[in-house]
Point group: C2
Chain length 318, copies 2
Amino acid sequence: MTTPAPNGNPSASALPSWSDGAAKQSIVDFVNKVATAGSPEFVPAADRIAVFDNDGTLWAEQPFPFQGLFAFDRVRALLPEHPEWKEKPAFKAVLENDMKALAATGMAGLVEVAMATHAGMTTEEFEGFVKDWIVTARHPKFQRLFTELVYQPMLEVLDFLRANGFKTFIVSGGGVEFLRTFSETIYGIPPDQIVGSSIVTKYEIRDGRPVLVRQPVLNFYDDNEDKPVGINVFIGRRAIAAFGNSDGDFAMLEWVTGGTGARFALIVHHDDAAREFAYDRKAGLAKLDRGLDEGPKRGWTLVSVKNDWKRVFPFDAG
Amino acid sequence: MTTPAPNGNPSASALPSWSDGAAKQSIVDFVNKVATAGSPEFVPAADRIAVFDNDGTLWAEQPFPFQGLFAFDRVRALLPEHPEWKEKPAFKAVLENDMKALAATGMAGLVEVAMATHAGMTTEEFEGFVKDWIVTARHPKFQRLFTELVYQPMLEVLDFLRANGFKTFIVSGGGVEFLRTFSETIYGIPPDQIVGSSIVTKYEIRDGRPVLVRQPVLNFYDDNEDKPVGINVFIGRRAIAAFGNSDGDFAMLEWVTGGTGARFALIVHHDDAAREFAYDRKAGLAKLDRGLDEGPKRGWTLVSVKNDWKRVFPFDAG
């Protein structure tokens, strides 16, 4: 168990993949402040809730959010049953691996592909598809399993917070049932501590067995202003620390830091094309623009992957 | 910490308010089976999830679900601002305390009263109303705070399960934000382990502060076939034990016991008019009909309040 140093200095052992500097110091200072008995800003353990975006915050999200890549692989696998897809623009773009053409189909095209690959089966069948994919599919740039593309420094933050009495939650625009198949293994976050997007499911008895069947209808899209909504309805407590990387996380960070008492917000800025990817103001759904401008003024920690992280992925040399 | 007796006999200390008998024995046997290392039906701690209905299962629900009584008190408090309510059948029935007239307005009338009293304020304001009410309002029959009307034997089950590695959740048709204001205090169940009904909330900045404003639109009604849906989307694991009392819990018990491995379901049958209330097949929303007929055939434990519980409420003589 990691314990904060009593004098507020970062413990070298707590965040070994973080370079010494303002970002690392801000994390350690916050934890010392809220978790040290007798501190004027002490927060009881029950209220030590931390929320993390997933794509781009806990694991990578380029060249396309990984759940999208899962969907594209499902399109290829299901193609024999759906020859008509070859004539549909969104599916055609996926089959030709033409991300620009896919983007041109807009949100409607993405939703069409998402529903075709995420609905129409039981929750158990869907879980099976994800579990098969996650242990075989490889990232196009790194040729690694997607579960290897987690950010080592963020894993250390998760551990550091939990060692100091925090309960850690994911609050992701990604699908909650997708995330749950591997979140406990790679992040130590159990299924009930994940807030995410979902589609409607319907209770049915099939062959005498109760099942939930996934419907091609959106239930909740956990992004932007709906991240605070998701935190409220799923977690029921305003977290005191929030971690994100894109403007889709802005409202979440604003909501969390808008509460009373000690609060903490952190934005990961992907500025390291050599070790990972560099993207920000023009990154489409992963855009970081308002956060870059306003985050620091609001007292939020801005992390430079290039400067603040000694290692990016667990497989990087330490 | 309570530990199961190694030979499967109920430990007298674990469930002191339960009479010796088949119901008590079934609980102890199940816990021994899944929580004892080396047992052929051992279940890892991470999968030891138990779900509890609230109204009629953890606390009383007569003469009307307590959240309804909260709403009625809110109607009376808000009446000066809404003179028009005197002419509206549902509100008129509430003001005259005429539950028959209210029932005659149907679900539409109940929803109208619910929305008028549960929407139109921030989540923090709503929490304040509930917190004020819960420490002052009294039950019409018992003249006790509603938080005193929890079932002592069920509190012991919650403790017994948790002492044996279970994570306990509430899965209620009641409002999740209502329940969360007191669930940790009275049940030891934190806000993020409550699945319940909810209305839509909307993120807004008011006077520079981010708030969530409760809208008069239903988001999720966590009852009947939607209880399994709620378990899936909020908890993400099929619980292995389920506790309920009305047919609104039937699908939840069916879903939980429909999984593989050791499973447990229990129905509280309210048959004790002297110490509490007696109601079942004709109890409207709290009806227990199908459960009485099919539960025992399915191997579910049927609890007679009269015979199986030595004490009903904590304030009863032991």
